[in-house]
Each structure stands twice: as structure tokens, then as C-alpha cells.
Amino acid sequence: MKSDIELIDTEGKRNDGRGPQDIRKIKIEAGVLHRADGSCYLEWGGNKVLVAVYGPREAVPRHTQNPLKAIVQARYNMAAFSVEDRKRPGPDRRSVEISKVISEALEKIVLTDQFPRASIDVCIEVLDAEAGTRCAGLTAAGVALIDAGIPMRDIPVACAAGKINGQVVLDLGKEEDNFGDADLPIAISPRTGEVLLLQMDGHLTYEEFNEAFDLAVKGCHMVSEIQKKAIMDKYQTAAAEVNE
């Protein structure tokens, strides 16, 4: 899908004022919900995502239990009012697919063999959507899992790269996603560089893929720093309260 709409000018400035390698503004807060075992609120550009983690707890129905390890069940859900035209509440094919790929990404990083027969439930609620909700959801899930004290190999993080007007750029915005040439969301384990989630749609050459992939990894590391800061902030605030 080649677009005629100008999304990036000759000087490399994008419609929202970003350069090709800039991510949108990200704000992360850990531990925002009372009932959940762990939670995270994340704003990424115009995306607003809330994640709660419950568990490890007994997996139900029982046939879903694995006697050797825990299962990780992510549920990605969009609020009816989070998009331009109201979305009918409840799961659709898109959200079921996203839930599946996020569950699989998280299952690799959680030390599931410590909790046989258990379930770790990750509820991802998209409250406001503006391109890149699966990356926002997975990134917030990483922080919420830490907040819940779930043992993990690393803090998973996601970011997308893409192609607009033939140029590879980081973290597509709304228009860039709709009218761009390609979108490549990935999630990695930042410590090892292992790829946990990878999807692509559009049209990329082999060289462009390499460029976009490297850029997305770079974006993941940028987001990872913001994740770590949010977690540190939470514990420092908690420590300060104890010392009072």
C-alpha cells in the first residue's frame, strides 16, 4: 500500500514534529490499582493503557492447568469509547489474536516452572487508542508483573518501527499507521536481545527490514529505561513512606 499522503518532509520531520528516530512521549506509573496484585498505568502518545496482574493463582477451568508449570493468560480488551467509532464491548478476532501473541511473549519471560498448575492473569485494558496499543499493553504488562512480584528473567518491553513515504522510522503514530507502508511491532528481552513478539504488515525489502528491526530494538531499549524508572519510583515512594 503506497501512500500519496506526505507523512514526513524532506528534512526528516514527521507530521507530529518528531524526527525519524524519536518515540512519542511515554509516562508510566506502577501500582495504581487497589484490588490487583500488581498494576500499571501507561500513556504512550495518545494511548492510555491500564494493566492489572492477578496471580499466581489456581488456574480455572482445571483442564487448562499444566502440572509442570504455570500458564500466562493475557487478555487484551479495548474500551468501547477508546476508538473513533464506538467498538462493541467484548472480544473480537483482533483482540483475541493480540491476547494470544502477548500471552506467548510473556510466557517465555516468566519463570513459569516455579508455579505448577497456577495461572498468571494479565488484564490489559486499552482506554484510549492511537496506534501501537499492543506495544503499549505489553510494555505496561512488564511493569505490572514486576509490581505483582512475579519472578521473571527480564522485564519485557515492546516498540514498533515502520516505513512511511519509503523511509524507516520509529514508533508509528495514528496517521503513519493508517497511511504508512509498513509496521513492525516487536517485543524483546532487553538483557539478552531475545525476540518475544514479532509481527509485520506492509511491504519491506530485506535491507529495510534489517534497518527497521534494529531501530525497533533501539526503541525498546529507550522504553525499557522508562519502565525501570517507573518501578524505581514506586519502590522509592514506598520506602519514603515507611521511613516517615
Partner: protein, 299 residues
């Protein structure tokens, strides 16, 4: 029910006998209420309400659609509530359970029966096109008293809703536009108490037919909920109180001090005196809550 609420029940009753509650409140007192509006950019109006640890988000979406055949010149509203598993370890995904449906219907009645939204002012072309208003309630954190939190969130979100005329202008043909222009010019020139929409200021009295404008509203009733545990009546129950409560009563009162809606819940029972006590408490608390809401939506 697990064993924990049964142990907590003894504790809550023991405290109540000394006139106390687990979080130190008086029987009639509400937890701290916080209202934040315009929290979702994609929605036409939105609000997040916190009552203590309970958090509810309400978003309003609008669309253009066909009116019902029996009310051809009236807008259409619908209310839905999602008990997403994020909000409580006991909520499961899947189709709405009966509590979610009850909640949505009680909020819907509160808005509909008191004509909070002036639906007759949301007609574009009679019999063909009217505005549709979707009230979607998302429970984020469940620590009791969802009825009050959800209805307050709906009212706050509606009060900040802008009818998205500019976005839908392309869907209106010449006939619709002429009809809508006439409707909107009539809209705010009818003399009477409803002249200025609730939460809007004088400047919005004469909106332009092609511009977004505040949803026409009247003064809403405010819901207040109490539960009975043994013989004690406790307002604004937190989760621990709600799970062991015998019976619950929600009373919506308007700005004149009249009763506009009621809903009894759970399998216990009330005497007439107890109901009167709840109504009185709902009137007192309603005044406070109304003030909190007005401060937020008019600022």
C-alpha cells in the same frame, strides 16, 4: 464465598456495635470522592470517578442513527457496563453477568427517567436521523459501591460531552442540514428552566449548527447507596462491608429534595423505618455529592 468474609463479618459487627467502621468513618459518611473529567481523548465525553479505592471510568460515544418508530423525533441513548477482570479477582471475562446488567440498567434509568439528557433536542431529521448516545461504564478497581461510582461517572462524563457535529457533517445531506439548523436554532431559545444546559455557561447558549456543542442536559438526580449489616445502616459500603451485607438500597434524589429512583438489592429485607432512614441519609449525602460534581463540571 470463602471463609475470610465470615471472619471479617464478626469484626465488622463488633466495630459497628461500638459505632465504628473498619476504615474509621461514621455510618453516614462517604469516602473521599475524586472526579476527573476529559480523561479519554477519543470519547465525546469522559470521566474517572474514585470513591475511596473504587475506580470507575465512563466514556460517552455519539453516532448518528435511526430513531425508534414510536419516538421519531427523539435521540436514542443506551448504557452498558463492563466488569472487566482487571477490577477484581472475582470478575471473569465473558458476556456481562447479571450484576453488570443490573448496574447498567440502574444507571440507565437514573439518566433516562429524569430526562438528564434532553433527547428531544437530539433530533436531526424526524423519523430518519437522530443522535445516538452510548454510555459505556468501565469498572477499573472494585472496592464496593459501584452503583454510586458508576452513576456519578456517567453524569460527570455526560456533563463534559460535546456533540461531535463537525465530525459527522459529511454524513448529513442537504435535507438533514436544513432540518438540523432549524432544530439547533430552536434548541436554546425555548424559554424556561432548561434554557442553559447543566454544566455549560452562557457563552454556549447559541451554538453554531456546524460546531460541536455541549450535550443538552437538565439537573441530574444523585444516587446514594447504603447497606444493612445486622441492624446497622452503613452508607457508601466498601468491599469488605458489601460482601457481608444483608441488603442494599440505592436512592437517587434531585436538587429539590425529591426521590427520583430506588433499587433494593441482595436477599435481606428492610423495615419501613429503615427505608426512611436511608432516604434521609441519601438526601444529606446527595447534597454533598452534587456539590462535588458541580464544582468539577463547571470549572
Amino acid at each position: 464465598m470463602t471463609i475470610v468474609p465470615i471472619i471479617k463479618r464478626d469484626y465488622i459487627i463488633k466495630l459497628a456495635e461500638q459505632g465504628k467502621r473498619i476504615d474509621g468513618r461514621d455510618f453516614n459518611h462517604y469516602r473521599k470522592i475524586e472526579i476527573e473529567t476529559n480523561v479519554v481523548n477519543k470519547a465525546e465525553g469522559s470521566a474517572r470517578v474514585k470513591i475511596g479505592n473504587t475506580q470507575v471510568l465512563c466514556g460517552i460515544k455519539m453516532d448518528i442513527g435511526e430513531p425508534f418508530p414510536d419516538t421519531p423525533a427523539t435521540g436514542v441513548m443506551s448504557t452498558a457496563a463492563e466488569f472487566v477482570p482487571l477490577a477484581s479477582p472475582d470478575f471473569e471475562s465473558g458476556p456481562p453477568r447479571e450484576d453488570a446488567i443490573e448496574l447498567a440498567r440502574v444507571v440507565d434509568r437514573g439518566v433516562r427517567e429524569s430526562q438528564v439528557i434532553q433527547l428531544e433536542k437530539l433530533c436531526i431529521t424526524p423519523g430518519e436521523k437522530v443522535w445516538l448516545v452510548f454510555i459505556d461504564i468501565h469498572i477499573l478497581d472494585y472496592d464496593g459501591n459501584l452503583f454510586d461510582a458508576a452513576s456519578l461517572a456517567a453524569l460527570a462524563a455526560l456533563s463534559t460531552t460535546k456533540v461531535p457535529v463537525s465530525r459527522f457533517l459529511k454524513d448529513l445531506n442537504e435535507k438533514d442540514r436544513t432540518s438540523w439548523q432549524k432544530q439547533i436554532l430552536d434548541l436554546y431559545t425555548i424559554p424556561g428552566v432548561d434554557e442553559i444546559p447543566f454544566g455549560a455557561d452562557e457563552a454556549n447558549k447559541n451554538p453554531n449548527p456546524i460546531q460541536d456543542f455541549p450535550l443538552p442536559m437538565t439537573e441530574p438526580p444523585i444516587s446514594c447507596t447504603a447497606v444493612k449489616i445486622n441492624d446497622f445502616i452503613l452508607f457508601d459500603p466498601c468491599f469488605d462491608e458489601e460482601v457481608i451485607a444483608d441488603v442494599r438500597l440505592t436512592v437517587a434524589t434531585d436538587h429539590n429534595g425529591d426521590i427520583r429512583a430506588m433499587q433494593k438489592g441482595l436477599s435481606g429485607s428492610f423495615s419501613k423505618e429503615e427505608i426512611q432512614k436511608v432516604i434521609k441519609g441519601a438526601l444529606d449525602n446527595g447534597k454533598e455529592v452534587r456539590k462535588t460534581l458541580k464544582d468539577v463540571v463547571s470549572s
